[in-house]
Symmetry: C2
C-alpha cells in the first residue's frame, strides 16, 4: 500500500552486470563474455584478471538474458503429479541425476490439485521455455496435448498414452504386473481376489485389465471383482472397506499401488482382520515405503531408478539431436514377495503347485 514510492521489491545495484566487470577489469564487455564462457582466444592473464574482477564484485550471470539471446535454456521441466507418492522421490532423483549428467537443468512443478492449477503450472514451464517435459504420475497432466509439440517434446513416466505427437513414454508393463500379482495369490491358494482399482487413468485401466485377464486365465473369471479406489491411501481404504463388506468377502486384495495399499491395510485392521492370516494384500510400485519393516508389503516392483534415468536420457538425447530410439518403452515388472501375503486361512490342500507357500 506504499502509495507514491516507486515500489521496488528487490534493491537496485544488487546485481552487477557484465559491464561492471568490464569496467573493473579495464576491458570491453565482449571480452568479459568471452572469458566467462572459456572461449579460446582470450589471453590467459586477461582471463584471470576478468575472473578476479567478477569474483570481487560478486558477479553472477543472468540466466534470463542468456536464454533470450541463446534461444535455448538447456532446461527440462518435470511435472510431478503427486509429491506424496513415495515413488516420486525415487524417480525424480534419477531424472535429476541423468539430466545433470547431460548438462541440462531441471525445473520441477507440482500438479494434482485442480485442472486449472495444473494448466497454469504447465504454462509456467512453457513460459520459462523449457525444451522438453517429463510428466511423472499415473496420468498425464491436464492440458499436455496443447503444451507438447515440436518445440517441446515430452516423455511420460508411468502412463503410456499412444497417439499424442511428440509424446514418448517409459513405463512398465502394467498388464503383466497385475498378472504377476494374481499369479502369486492364486499360487498361494486364493480364489476370491478383489482388485481395488485407481479410477479412470490409463495406468489404472491397464492394471485392471491385467487383473481381469489373469483371473480368467486361472479359470476365476467369474469371481473377478473390481471395487473403486484411487492412487492415494484414502482411496485404498475406501476400496478395501467396500471389498470386505461384500456378501462373500475376499481372502486377498490386489491394490492399485503401494500408497493405496497402506489405506487398504488400515481398512483390514479396522475390520478386525489380520494381514496376512485373514486377508492377503498386494500393492504395486515397489517403493521404499513397501519395504519398510513394519509394513513389509508384497508388491509388484517397477525399476524406478531405471525409469527415471532412461526417461531423462531419452528426452535429453532427443534434444541433443541423437538418433531417436523407440518412443514408447515397456519395462518388465517383478514380483517382490514380503509378508502381507500367505495362503488363505482354511488351508485346504490345493493341487496347484505350492512353491510359494513357505
Amino acid at each position: 500500500m506504499a502509495s507514491t514510492e516507486p515500489a521496488r521489491g528487490t534493491d537496485r545495484a544488487a546485481h552487477p552486470t557484465i559491464r561492471d566487470v568490464a569496467a573493473r577489469a579495464g576491458v570491453s564487455k565482449s571480452l568479459v563474455s568471452l572469458a566467462l564462457q572459456n572461449a579460446p582466444r582470450v589471453a590467459p592473464e586477461t582471463r584471470e584478471a576478468i575472473l578476479a574482477a567478477a569474483e570481487e564484485i560478486g558477479y553472477r550471470r543472468n540466466a534470463a538474458a542468456r536464454a533470450l539471446v541463446a534461444r535455448r535454456t538447456r532446461t527440462i521441466g518435470v511435472f510431478v503429479l503427486d509429491l506424496h507418492n513415495p515413488m516420486t522421490a525415487d524417480v525424480l532423483d534419477a531424472v535429476q541425476a541423468e539430466a545433470r549428467r547431460r548438462d541440462y537443468r531441471t525445473l520441477v512443478v507440482v500438479g494434482g490439485e485442480d485442472a486449472v492449477a495444473e494448466r497454469a503450472e504447465l504454462e509456467k514451464l512453457l513460459e520459462f521455455r523449457v525444451e522438453g517435459i517429463i510428466a511423472l504420475g499415473h496420468r498425464l497432466p491436464h492440458g499436455v496435448e496443447e503444451a507438447v509439440g515440436e518445440a517441446c517434446p515430452a516423455v511420460s513416466i508411468g502412463s503410456a498414452p499412444r497417439g499424442v505427437a511428440h509424446l514418448g513414454s517409459l513405463s512398465t508393463d502394467d498388464v503383466m504386473g497385475a498378472g504377476l500379482a494374481v499369479d502369486h495369490l492364486v499360487a498361494l491358494g486364493h480364489e476370491r481376489i478383489v482388485h481395488v482399482d485407481g479410477g479412470s487413468s490409463l495406468v489404472a485401466r491397464d492394471r485392471r485389465r491385467g487383473y481381469r485377464a489373469a483371473m480368467k486365465r486361472h479359470g476365476l473369471g467369474a469371481l473377478a471383482t473390481v471395487v473403486p479406489g484411487s492412487f492415494a491411501d484414502e482411496g485404498g481404504y475406501r476400496g478395501a472397506r467396500a471389498a470386505l463388506a461384500l456378501p462373500s468377502p475376499p481372502t486377498a486384495l490386489f491394490v492399485v499401488n503401494d500408497l493405496a495399499a497402506m489405506g487398504a491395510l488400515a481398512a483390514v485392521a479396522d475390520a478386525g482382520l489380520a494381514v496376512p492370516q485373514d486377508v492377503s494384500v498386494v500393492g504395486y510400485d515397489g517403493t521404499g515405503l513397501a519395504g519398510l519393516r513394519p509394513i513389509a508389503l508384497t508388491t509388484v516392483g517397477q525399476p524406478l531408478h531405471e525409469l527415471g534415468t532412461r526417461a531423462a536420457a531419452q528426452l535429453c538425447g532427443q534434444l541433443d539431436g541423437e538418433p531417436p530410439g523407440a518412443a514408447h518403452t515397456l519395462l518388465r515388472p517383478t514380483l517382490v514377495v514380503r509378508r502381507t501375503t500367505a495362503p488363505p486361512v482354511p488351508a485346504r490342500p490345493v493341487a496347484r503347485r505350492s512353491r510359494a507357500a513357505g
Copy 2:
C-alpha cells in the same frame, strides 16, 4: 556429431513473438504488450482482436525477456534437502500453495548429494534471479551464506540458524519437542532411554540437547546416552542396533526423526525384539508416514502445513515490502501418542505419576 550443420536443438519458428501477434492483428507490438497485460487504455474490441490473434498463432509470453526488462521474476527458489523424507512433501505443498496465492512462482531444486552439487543448485537459483529462497531440511544447504543477501533473502524451515544476515527461520522448538518425548517415556516408566541422534546439524543438536536436559530434569542424567545416527532410515537402523548392543540395553529409543525411526523399528525387529513390548520407539516430525496403520509410530508432531505456509508468507511478504515481523519464529511441537510406546516390560510399580500409562 552432426559436424557442420548449425546445431539447433529446438526448432525455429516454433515460438511466435509479440511482433507476430501484432502483424496478425494489424497493430503495433506495443499495443499487443499492453493488451496482454490488461492495461486500462486499450479499446475493448482491439483487445479482443489481439487476444484472438495471440490464441490463433499459439503465442506464449517469454519469461526470460519479461524478467530481463522487469528486473523482477516474482519467483522464489525452494531448496529441498531430502525428497525422500515424507515431511518434505507436506511442507512443500503448503509453500507452493501460499506462494501461488501471493502470485509468486516457485522453483524447486534438490540438494543433499554432495557439497559441490548443492552449491551448483543454489547458483542455478541465483542465475534464474529468484527473489528469495526457502531452504527446507534439517540443515542449511552448503554455500547459503554467499547466496543470501539483500538482493535475495532467505527463510529456513526446520533449522534455525542465527546470525546470518537476511536469513530468517521458521521452526518448532526442538529442545521442547525432545522434552515431550522423554517426558512421555518417563511417565510410562522408562528410565534407560537412549537417543539415536542425527549428527552435527543444528536440528540434531537441539534435539540432543532437549533430550539431555529432560533426562536430567527427571533425575536420569546419569543414564542419558546418545548413539550416532542420521536423518535417514539407514542411520536409524545403525544407531538402534548400536543402542541395543549396549551392556545394559535401553527399554526405549528416542529417534531423531520419523524416517530414521523406521530404520530403528527394523533394527529392533532384527534383534528379535518386539515393539512396544520389549522396546518403545518415539520418532519426530509427525509425518503421514508415522501415522500409517501398520506403523503407528508415537512421534513429536510439527505443524508441517503451518510451517510451510508461514515461511512462504514471511518471504513473499518481505519481498512485497510488508513490514517485517519476527525474523525467527518458533512453533510449539505436540506429542502424538500411537502404538510404538508402552510401559517397559518388568512393569515395576513406579511412584512417579502414571496418568499416561494406559
